[in-house]
Amino acid sequence: MTDAEAEIERIEVTLLLEAIFQRYGYDFRDYARASVERRLAQFLQDSETPTYSVALGRLLREPAYFHKLVPYFSVSVTSLFREPFFYEGLRTCVVPLLRTWPHFKVWHAGCATGEEVYSLAILLREEGILDRGLLYATDISQPALETGRAGVYPLEILRKGSENYHKAGGRGSLSDHYHARGDAGVMDSALARRMTFARHNLAMDRSFGEMQLILCRNVLIYFNQDLQNAVLELFLESLDNGGFLCLGDKETLAFSSVADAFVAVDDRARIYKKRVR
């Protein structure tokens, strides 16, 4: 492959993302490019499309073809009490401050199918402060939100979740918080009562109100630096002074435009606190 061919391919991908945006309003232009290229390559292979240029023509003219592509952009990995040490960090660094507020609001951005929202709700319940909190859970994917709203998970997921629950310092048993129905578990409706699931596109939509805690874990890794900065500015604006921002295990504010607006309170769990200005 020559340099010119590589450059042509790069331009084709840029045009394709621009076409998707102009035609359908989905903005993937500032998604992390290397992952986008992997997903597009996979889609081309699965849909037996020979080249990006052919894909471009079909995307513009065939909405059904585009809708086959969308799921390739919303792959997400989540589980109950994913990365148990994070929940220990929450208990140690965040809960004591949440206690001092009569009411608090939490925004879980990019909540996928909701497992981590339920995990947080369980933790807050065990700490005796769930009733003071409102949990807003948002995602770009409507089907994922439906799953979260329903709060029904296969027993296999709950079994793995139970291991993590104990590693995360759970005080009782995960089964205190769901009841079995066939080969699935239904999360306790008392948890769901404190939650609102809503569609929100971090790449396009605006602030969500004054929050005391924002969680956005392993979502920003799919954005390029510009979009990451824009979303982090949005979080900064949506956070109360002294509010907390939680990122994924390998995400950091260090390389971002808001590094100075936060102080790290737990380096390993990636929990940051908004400086009082």
Binding site: D3, A6, A32, A34, V75, Q225, K250, T252
Partner: protein, 202 residues
């Protein structure tokens, strides 16, 4: 016999190294001789358990003269530094000189996957990339190595005869259409040679 045209001198901006079972010893052989003056960035992907909390970075950091970091999302790629793929994340290179991570599905049952890193590095560095595939028991990395080759980079494999687990380098040799592999010592000499290469005038 066709006499090959003398290749233009190759400047290497990045070296990617992948391995799995049996790769930690050859990896050390490759890297121990290098100094912080090494003119290229090094990206390393080793298969490991999802719960490995940065042990490999710690161990390598203790024995190497090169600085070693576990990659974080958007970390700038630096010459003369080893960037390790963290457990349970894919490591990708971006054209803006930064690293990106992903939790996309496993490739060859592996996250990090060697294919993912090699393929993204090939797109970023093209002919200015050197890729080395070491010992391992599955075929992750072979498609990545072929992609490095396709984009004009230098694709190399450990000689399967010197590997504890020959499957991975053998698959790499086949996929990239190489004549064969090289011993860890020979691969190490290639890297040492890069240090004496004229640095790029950027």
């Amino acid at each position: 016999m066709i006499v090959p045209r003398m290749p233009t001198p190759r400047l290497t901006d990045a070296v990617v190294i992948g391995g799995s079972a049996g790769a930690s010893v050859p990896l050390r052989t490759l890297l121990t001789g290098l100094t912080p003056a090494f003119p290229a960035a090094i990206l390393v992907v080793m298969h490991m358990h999802p719960d490995d909390g940065g042990l490999l970075a710690e161990n390598l950091g203790q024995v190497l003269r090169l600085p070693v970091v576990e990659a974080l999302d958007k970390m700038p790629v630096k010459r003369g530094r080893v960037h390790l793929a963290p457990a349970d994340y894919h490591l990708l290179a971006e054209r803006d000189g930064k690293l990106a991570l992903s939790v996309d599905e496993r490739v060859w049952w592996s996250r990090p996957s060697i294919d993912v890193t090699f393929q993204s590095a090939a797109a970023v560095w093209g002919r200015r990339l050197m890729a080395i595939l070491l010992s391992g028991a599955n075929e992750d990395g072979a498609a990545g190595l072929a992609e490095v080759q396709r984009r004009g980079g230098l694709a190399l494999c450990q000689d399967p005869a010197t590997a504890t687990m020959p499957t991975m380098p053998a698959a790499g040799i086949k996929a990239a259409g190489l004549r064969g592999g090289e011993s860890p010592e020979a691969l190490s000499r290639r890297l040492m040679h890069l240090e004496s290469e004229k640095p790029d005038a950027r």
